[in-house]
């Protein structure tokens, strides 16, 4: 177990370093950092001086190392565009993105599993047929189109829900601004959460359905029935648990994609999260923010991967023993 975690940690560090290399390269190849920092009237000599002072003339490996060392402490420098520490910017916007992603993820998981199980158990009835058809549409429509459609129907036509922004927010602790505690905050969350989670929901649903059908064909399900267990025990006690083992992995990994894909949803709904921040910084070639965002997303993926592995380990007793045996 310990060895397993250690191995995964080492892998994670390697991944993070690789991403750091890419992020660092942005500084060198996307725009000229000096040009972004100084005004028009700065002389060439002054620029050279600044270049030297910032260490931009040091060997590549030295620069990279100091980038990594500073990044590890959360220091990504100052935003070119907003003249504010990048980390501060990101932290102030992170709660919005995380709340959106978490709510979408939970919705996607709950509805995905629910619909998946239903369509697997009730194969052939009209409702599961319709769910399957609608889910096909959900998969094939691009996210921004879904967002725009939802806005049009629920915000413009029906006027039930706000079409942009986070609504009212309040602080939890020093810096976490939440929309979950106010009514307008929750109302504002609904449409973006659906938009962001719909695709993942259909993926999970299709996965659960396929997996469940597979499990229902296994011998241990037949044997469970032959022992006279109730349908409920067979379906939810035995079949669902086995179905969820692989589903947990995929869902967990999708949390990463949800956070990454929130860029589009945040843009459509003008959601003040890190995704929207990233889009703005791309427009302005605000390299420090871009680099920090890249690293953040990578970190999210790495952490989620790690958590999913541990979860998997906790759910499936077969893994636990094999590892234990392997050590002796």
């Amino acid at each position: 177990m310990i060895a397993f975690i250690l191995r995964r940690l080492v892998q994670s560090v390697i991944v993070m370093l690789t991403v750091a290399l890419v992020a660092f390269s942005l500084f060198r190849f996307v725009g000229d950092p000096i040009a972004s920092m100084v005004g028009q009237e700065t002389t060439l000599a002054e620029r050279a001086e600044l270049r030297e002072a910032l260490g931009l003339n040091d060997p590549f490996i030295v620069q990279f190392w100091s980038f990594v060392a500073r990044a590890a402490t959360g220091d990504f420098g100052i935003s070119y565009r907003l003249q504010q520490p990048v980390m501060e910017l990101i932290l102030s916007r992170l709660p919005a993105t995380l709340e959106l992603a978490l709510v979408s993820g939970i919705l996607a998981f709950l509805f995905g599993v629910g619909f998946g199980v239903y369509t697997a158990l009730r194969r052939g009835n009209w409702l599961s047929g319709s769910i399957m058809t609608i889910s096909l549409i959900g998969v094939s429509l691009p996210t921004f189109l879904i967002g725009v459609l939802l806005i049009w129907v629920f915000a413009v036509e029906l006027q039930w829900l706000p079409s942009f922004g986070r609504g009212d927010t309040v602080y939890i602790g020093d810096w976490w601004r939440t929309g979950l505690l106010t009514e307008s905050g929750r109302a504002s969350l609904i449409l973006p959460a659906i938009t962001l989670g719909l695709y993942q929901m259909t993926l999970i649903m299709r996965l659960v359905r396929a997996e469940m059908l597979e499990v229902l064909r296994t011998d241990y399900i037949k044997f469970a029935r032959a022992r006279g267990l109730s349908n409920r025990a067979v379906h939810f006690g035995h079949a669902l648990k086995n179905t969820l083992v692989p589903v947990i992995t995929i869902t967990g990994l999708q949390m990463g994609s949800i956070i990454a894909f929130s860029i589009i949803t945040e843009t459509v709904f003008q959601w003040p999260g890190v995704g929207a921040l990233f889009i703005r910084s791309v427009q302005f070639v605000d390299v420090p923010v871009m680099a920090a965002y890249l690293m953040l997303i990578a970190l999210v993926f790495v952490v989620i991967n790690l958590v999913v592995d541990l979860l998997y380990y906790a759910v499936d007793p077969r893994l636990r023993v094999d590892r234990a045996n392997a050590r002796h």
């Binding site: 241990y220 044997f223 022992r227 109730s230 006690g237 007793p317």
Partner: protein
């Protein structure tokens, strides 16, 4: 004659397919007496497993019972409501499947699976169920049962797992146990022990057994009577010694020719030339006629029904048609 525990009458099982209806069991009739072990043999695809599935009410759609009746101790069970039939499964009819490696849910401990089964059918506390479960495991020969019970299935070897499966099938003390090739997937060295355990416990409890197998040796040692199935039809059924030593149906005669003796190693039940017909190409008349060495004209036209023979045996073959024998004699 006392009422049989199980009585199957003219059972027909069909699979509706796009190209017509396949009849997989065709008028199968037999009884199993209280405490009796009935062996069921036949080539692969003869319909042995389907017979078991039909009895316990677990035919997989589109398969369905299209005719006949199944009676359990005087109660008709083939047309019961689903919930009623569920209460019979496990409680009155237990089932052991072929592959112990896949019969157990890998995510639950043996204790969880056993107590769940016990408490589904018998109104006892969790603690009492666990006590019973341990006693049961001990009885089927799991060493250190009170400790091993909390292990997961993958901690057990194949033979031990099949013991667990037997414990599960017997957990709610069924009157009838259907064992579908319970040892085929096991190592040869443990097969005999598993059969012994199954037979002993059922004998102790007075439970009847329907033992499906390819192994005539097992039948000879274990069963009281044996039923021979061919292409979904019963060829012959009778006391095990009579059928083995003096088979009457030409198919059974061929089968018995393939029983391994002590000196000669085992061969499967396929020594008769030719192959069993597919369900969509069963010949008219006697299903066995293309392979039969004693085929007569009549065999190709009329189907022989299962008819009683002396000594409690029944055979479906025109050779033993009483009218004809009378005419001959």
């Amino acid at each position: 004659m006392p009422e049989p525990l199980l009585s199957v009458r003219d059972l027909v099982v069909e699979f509706p397919t796009r190209r017509g209806v396949l009849r997989a069991l065709d008028k199968v009739s037999f009884d199993i007496a209280e405490g009796e072990v009935l062996g069921m043999v036949g080539e692969s695809g003869a319909g042995k497993s389907l017979t078991g599935a039909a009895i316990i009410g677990l035919l997989e759609p589109p398969g369905r019972i299209a005719g006949g009746e199944i009676w359990l101790r005087g109660e008709r069970i083939d047309n019961l409501a689903r919930e009623k039939m569920r209460r019979i499964r496990g409680r009155r009819i237990g089932m052991v499947f072929q592959d112990p490696l896949t019969s157990l849910n890998p995510l639950y401990t043996v204790a969880e699976q056993l107590t769940e089964t016990i408490r589904t059918h018998i109104d006892v506390s969790e603690k009492e169920a666990r006590k019973r479960a341990i006693a049961l495991l001990d009885r089927v020969g799991i060493p250190a049962a009170s400790r091993r019970i909390d292990d997961y299935p993958h901690h057990f070897s194949g033979g031990m797992r099949q013991r667990v499966v037997i414990a599960l099938a017997l957990a709610a003390e069924p009157e009838l146990v259907i064992a579908d090739e319970p040892t085929t997937a096991l190592d040869v060295s443990v097969q005999a022990q598993i059969i012994d355990v199954l037979k002993e416990i059922c004998a102790e409890r007075g439970a009847s057994v329907m033992l499906i197998t390819h192994d005539m040796g097992v039948i000879a040692e274990t069963a009281d009577r044996v039923a021979v199935l061919y292409a979904g039809r019963l060829a012959e059924i009778g006391p095990v010694r009579d059928v083995i030593q003096a088979a009457e149906h030409p198919y059974t005669v061929g089968l018995m020719g393939s029983i391994p003796t002590l000196t000669q190693t085992a061969d499967r039940l396929t020594q008769i030339p030719g192959a069993m017909p597919r369900l969509n190409a069963i010949p008219t008349g006697c299903a066995f006629n293309p392979r039969c060495t004693r085929v007569m004209d009549r065999c190709r036209i009329d189907r022989p029904e299962l008819a009683a023979r002396p000594g409690g045996r029944q055979v479906s073959c025109w050779l033993y048609d009483t009218a004809m024998e009378a005419a001959d004699g």
